[in-house]
């Protein structure tokens, strides 16, 4: 509650104090491509003419616009840059209290390996314009260079960011600052994806060829984002360049191809737009086809992703995103498996965005879409069996950004309709079933303003939750932040806020693989409220290094877990409500330019969860324990280097203290009662030990320290006009046996402990092509 009050006080003070600046000049402008289309994401710097000192920097927004306010009259030099393009510069003579507009065109200039510089530039812009958010950005180049599993994976790259931990090699799911995995909002072009994983979590659904960039908000995320309490990962698609392009690759996992192109300008204009371009990609695993002559391999995955965008003659940007993906495990033709089944799961998403200008330099963004996830197991021999889970969300939202004085207003609202349906039924009885629908209505207002050395942000988000069953809820989430610039390149910041979440996944995160089963907050499950405070320092050293350290405290009220001792006669007790606490600190130091680019992250965390102990007799007492993602110390060192002969090398060293587990205290024989004669029989296949275990204190033990070193080598070249990159990656070079599970065999004399490790030394290779 302290953070809530603190945020509310700061918010009120900010809204009262932040008067618009008067009598000072403003420079606005746009960055454009050579053929006059707006170019978003360009880095624009402002200097007084004849002076090398940087006055301000900005990234052009999604309409290619930038704005520098609060300027005294005088001559200024503007310079814009963008990866793969040349620079553009202009000199502006600004009269006192006047406003000037300038357009900067950047011609294409094929260059490579500059993505890291863009990241640094964006980081610098955020440093100067965001007070609250803890954001780290990954662009496509960096994602590709990060050692992954079989092929580049944005979610594997996210694991290297500060505050992020992964609980096993097998999952690309992640946890941020003591939040559970279902508290991460993962979005593709603004569309949430509910289970963005293939093969139970080993790979993400995101095809790197289609990604422009990914931004992780690990804390203090703006009021515009609702629906999750731990983090936001915003992945943006790449519409490609102005010409045609073909991109593809083959890895040990899958083959993929992405085609991009656009209409010639006259053709686009005939359609009423200035330009129209897009890309579509298909990815499919191939083992089922490759191995078919030898044996049936029953699994395959498929992704299809499309992204297109058009610029209107009025400078508005219209984009459309579509994604569909399926994993299929088909055991209907596998004679060696006793039960015929076909298991499919995947996401579908379709959405459109329109971004245009309003008012005096303002932006209006309209967004509509649908996203859904389903998993369904079918048994052709058994009509009485239904195992399925579905969740869908339709959304419309509007966001407005209005520059005012030395800051801006951000306002918005959204309406979401969510529905879910989970069934586990067989043999004529329903083991678990729940469904429901709800409306989530949200509105927010946020104001940020720069006052001298202070950057202040305040806002409030109000979420109304209207479930089909249960009471309606209204949650007001104030958010406030302040950043004090000690120097141009060093700042201290603090922020606080309240966040709300109305969906939960029932997946047991202690299992390394699994599929999310989503439920909505309603009469059986509460919504989650999280109050969060963070304070930190961030800065830059020279032109190459950036660093930051941030401490945080989070409370999570209304988290849930499965009640494995629920009363089947009570339809509302199948989940247990609890709460959680986490605190810790993250540190990062990185060099983002140069031939050798090290990045070090260090995350310290303490997390707990408290739930009624369903294992205890009635009434269940509360039990507090460390959740599986309570990795106390997590250290990641990533070194990327450009070597001669167009070779890029990456090495990742990952060390983490052991994760918690529950140790069995003893084992006993597991008997089945025969109802006909009242006698018991040990239940186990011949040769197995038919035992059950008695557990000790929950998650009181720790696995050994996790250590892994991965290396990656990528070599680029050209073959018959195509850019060809071959890569070799070796995961766990030192073949460290990191523990996945321990198995205790307590009936043996002497008692033994064995187990299963995570990845051993695992080499992979692949090739990428680009025409």
């Amino acid at each position: 509650m302290m953070s809530f009050r603190w945020a509310a006080v700061l918010l009120a003070a900010l809204l009262c104090a932040a008067a618009p600046a008067t009598g000072q000049g403003v420079i606005t402008g746009r960055t454009l491509t050579a053929d006059g289309l707006p170019l978003d994401g360009a880095y624009v710097t402002l200097r007084a003419r004849g002076d090398t000192a940087l006055l301000a920097a900005a990234a052009s927004d999604r309409l290619g616009r930038f704005r520098f306010a609060g300027l005294a009259g005088g001559a200024y030099e503007l310079r814009a840059s963008y990866v793969g393009r040349g620079d553009a510069a202009a000199v502006v003579q600004l009269g006192a209290g006047r406003s000037e507009h300038v357009e900067l065109a950047l011609a294409e200039r094929p260059v490579e390996l500059e993505g890291v510089r863009v990241e640094l530039q964006r980081d610098r812009v955020r440093f100067e314009t965001d007070a609250a958010a803890t954001v780290r950005e990954l662009d496509a180049a960096r994602i590709r260079r990060t050692p992954g599993l079989a092929e580049a994976d944005v979610l594997r790259a996210v694991e290297l960011l500060p505050g992020v931990i992964s609980t096993s090699d097998y999952t690309s799911s992640y946890n941020v600052r003591g939040g559970s995995a279902d508290q991460n909002l993962i979005m593709l072009d603004g569309l949430p994806l509910y289970n963005p994983f293939h093969l139970g979590g080993i790979f993400s659904v995101f095809n790197t060829d289609m990604i422009s960039r990914a931004e992780l908000y690990a804390g203090g995320f703006p009021a515009a984002y609702g629906g999750r309490v731990s983090s936001v990962l915003a992945i943006e698609s790449d519409a490609g360049g102005s010409g045609r392009d073909v991109e593809g690759g083959v890895s040990l996992l899958a083959g993929r191809v992405a085609l991009g192109g656009g209409l010639p300008r006259p053709a686009a204009e005939r359609l009423g737009v200035q330009s129209l371009r897009g890309r579509v990609s298909v990815r499919r695993s191939y083992f089922d086809q490759l191995l078919r002559p030898f044996f049936e391999f029953p699994y395959h995955l498929t992704d299809v992703q499309a992204y297109g965008e058009a610029w209107t003659r009025g400078g508005a940007r219209l984009s459309l995103t579509g994604y569909t993906g399926r994993d299929v495990l088909d055991l209907t033709t596998l004679e060696s498996f006793p039960l015929s089944l076909r298991w499919g799961w995947g996401n579908d998403a379709l959405g459109g965005r329109l971004i245009g200008t309003i008012g005096n330099g303002g932006t209006l963004e309209l967004h509509a879409g649908y996203t859904g996830f389903m998993t369904d197991i079918r048994f052709p021999d058994y009509e009485d069996t239904e195992l399925r889970s579905r969740i869908g969300q339709g959304l419309v939202r509007a966001d407005i950004e209005l520059p005012r004085g030395r800051g801006r207003w951000r306002l918005g609202g959204e309406a979401n309709r969510l529905a879910y349906d989970n069934v586990a039924a067989t043999g004529g009885t329903v083991f678990r079933a729940s469904d429901g629908l709800a409306w989530l209505l949200g509105a927010y207002a946020q104001r940020d303003v720069r006052l001298g050395a202070w950057l202040l942000e305040g806002g409030v988000r109000v979420d109304g939750w209207l479930p089909g069953r249960g009471a309606n809820s209204l949650v007001a989430g104030p958010r406030a932040a302040a950043k004090w610039f000690v120097r141009d390149d060093l700042a201290i910041k603090a922020s606080a806020g309240r966040y709300a979440q109305f969906v939960h996944s029932l997946r047991d995160e202690e299992l390394p693989l699994g599929i999310d089963i989503w439920v909505l907050a309603d009469e059986r499950a509460p919504h989650t409220i999280s109050d969060q405070v963070q304070i930190g320092v961030e800065g830059f050293a020279g032109d190459a290094w950036s660093y930051g350290v941030e401490a945080f405290h989070r409370r999570f009220d209304g988290v849930i877990t499965n009640n494995l001792a629920d009363d089947p006669n009570d339809p509302l007790d199948d989940v247990l409500a609890g709460d959680g606490v986490s605190y810790g600190a993250d540190l990062f130091v990185q060099r983002e330019v140069g031939r050798v680019r090290p990045a070090l992250t260090l995350s310290w965390l303490r997390a707990t969860r408290t739930f009624p102990d369903f294992r205890a007799p009635d009434p269940p007492p509360p039990v507090t324990y460390a959740p599986i993602f309570d990795r106390r110390l997590d250290i990641d060192l990533l070194v990327q280097a450009d070597l001669p002969r167009r070779v890029e090398a990456s090495a990742r060293v990952h060390v983490g203290t052991g994760l918690p587990y529950t140790r069995p205290l003893g084992a006993y024989t597991y008997y089945e009662l025969d109802l006909h004669d009242g006698r018991r029989t040990p239940q186990a296949p011949a040769g197995d030990d038919p035992h059950a275990v008695l557990l000790g204190e929950r998650n009181a033990e720790r696995y050994p320290t996790y250590q892994r070193v991965d290396v990656s080598l990528r070599r680029s070249g050209r073959v018959r006009g195509a850019a060809v990159t071959t890569y070799v990656e070796v995961l766990n070079v030192l073949n460290r046996r990191n523990v996945l599970f321990y198995f205790y065999q307590l009936d043996r004399d002497p008692p033994l402990r064995s187990g299963i490790s995570m990845f051993p030394l695992l080499p992979t290779l692949g090739v990428e092509l680009r025409f």
């Binding site: 090699d169 097998y170 006793p338 039960l339 048994f379 021999d381 058994y382 009485d384 069996t385 043999g427 004529g428 009885t429 329903v430 202690e510 299992l511 390394p512 494995l564 001792a565 089947p568 006669n569 007799p617 205290l665 003893g666 084992a667 006993y668 024989t669 597991y670 008997y671 089945e672 009662l673 025969d674 109802l675 006909h676 004669d677 009242g678 006698r679 018991r680 029989t681 040990p682 239940q683 296949p685 197995d688 030990d689 059950a692 008695l694 557990l695 046996r737 321990y742 198995f743 205790y744 065999q745 307590l746 004399d749 064995s754 187990g755 299963i756 490790s757 995570m758 990845f759 051993p760």
Partner: protein, 309 residues
């Protein structure tokens, strides 16, 4: 849902996990670990309509052949203060197979001179005292009486390849109904269709969850947790078409209390083995549950003298 069904289901889950792990994982070296804690585990499940009540005691540290709790007294009391005393007995009275015992286990049966009938809808209290001073207690309330309404007769004849609906009155207090069917003659009946079964009689179980779920398709609703069992899978698919001719089936429908249901369905995942939610308090673990039972028989043999179902 019987303990075995749950065990099989959990083993399948574990096997799938381990199989996936094995794609890229390695087994860790076995090392000697600390001795297990010495815990006394009691399994006492009262059954209405049963001529004998049994109690099974194990100890996590007792090797085979070693009594887990020598000198222990086991008693069950009812609400009127009557005391049912259990006395040590041959293992064969508690266990169907005594040749596969891997731990010290002791069987107790209700003493001839200190027993009473277990009644539906009554509350009973368990107390176990060991010679070394451990006391284990438990409490169960047997589900209320109920009876099968469909088929209307307790014993009847079904036509070949017939699917019936078993239906019974609700038993307030029940958390689930466990239906266990023992099929005699199924091996010969299915052999005609080219389906082999290893052993007879075949015992299959089904479950109806909650007191209000009072029906089950027969025989298709049975064996739901055995569908992954390679030896039984073809037979279970065949039973979806109805009860073959030539099969004599005895059926127990048991309304199970909270404690029994929690014990057999288990708790959260642990890679070292299944975990059960117990109902014993004090210096030990285990279950003190109860079943209220109904019985019937369905015969599909052509010469059966039973009336039609």
């Amino acid at each position: 849902m019987t303990a075995g069904d749950v065990a099989r289901r959990r083993r399948s889950t574990c096997a799938a996990l381990v199989a996936l792990s094995a794609i890229a994982a390695c087994e860790l070296q076995e090392i000697v670990t600390a001795q297990p804690e010495d815990v006394l585990v009691a399994e006492v499940v009262l059954r209405t309509g049963s001529a004998r009540q049994t109690a099974l005691l194990q100890r996590t540290t007792a090797p085979p052949g070693e009594p887990p709790a020598p000198g222990a007294t086991v008693t069950v009391s009812d609400e009127q203060g009557r005391v049912m005393r259990f006395e040590p007995a041959a293992l064969q009275l508690c266990l169907q197979h005594v040749d596969a015992i891997t731990r010290g286990v002791a069987c107790y049966v209700d003493a001839f001179d200190a027993r009473f009938d277990i009644e539906p809808g009554h509350t009973y209290t368990l107390r176990i005292e060991t010679a070394d001073g451990r006391v284990l207690t438990g409490r169960t309330t047997t589900p209320a009486p109920f009876h099968v309404v469909e088929p209307a007769l307790a014993a009847c004849r079904a036509g070949a390849d017939t699917t019936l609906t078993l239906r019974w009155r609700a038993s307030p207090g029940a958390w689930a109904y466990i239906v266990e069917a023992r099929f005699g003659g199924l091996r010969a009946a299915l052999a005609e269709r080219g389906i082999a079964i290893d052993a007879e009689p075949v015992v299959l179980s089904g479950v109806s969850v909650s007191a209000a779920d009072t029906s089950m398709a027969f025989p298709g609703g049975l064996g739901v947790f055995s569908r992954f069992d390679e030896a039984l899978a073809p037979a279970l698919v065949a039973l979806q078409q109805g009860l073959p001719a030539g099969v004599n089936t005895t059926i127990v429908v048991a309304a199970a209390d909270r404690n029994y249901v929690n014990w057999v369905r288990g708790g959260n995942f642990n890679p070292s083995g299944p975990v059960r939610v117990g109902s014993i308090q004090g210096a030990g673990a285990g279950v003190f549950g109860s079943l209220t039972q109904a019985f019937l028989r369905i015969d599909s043999r052509s010469g059966s003298p039973l009336p039609d179902c």
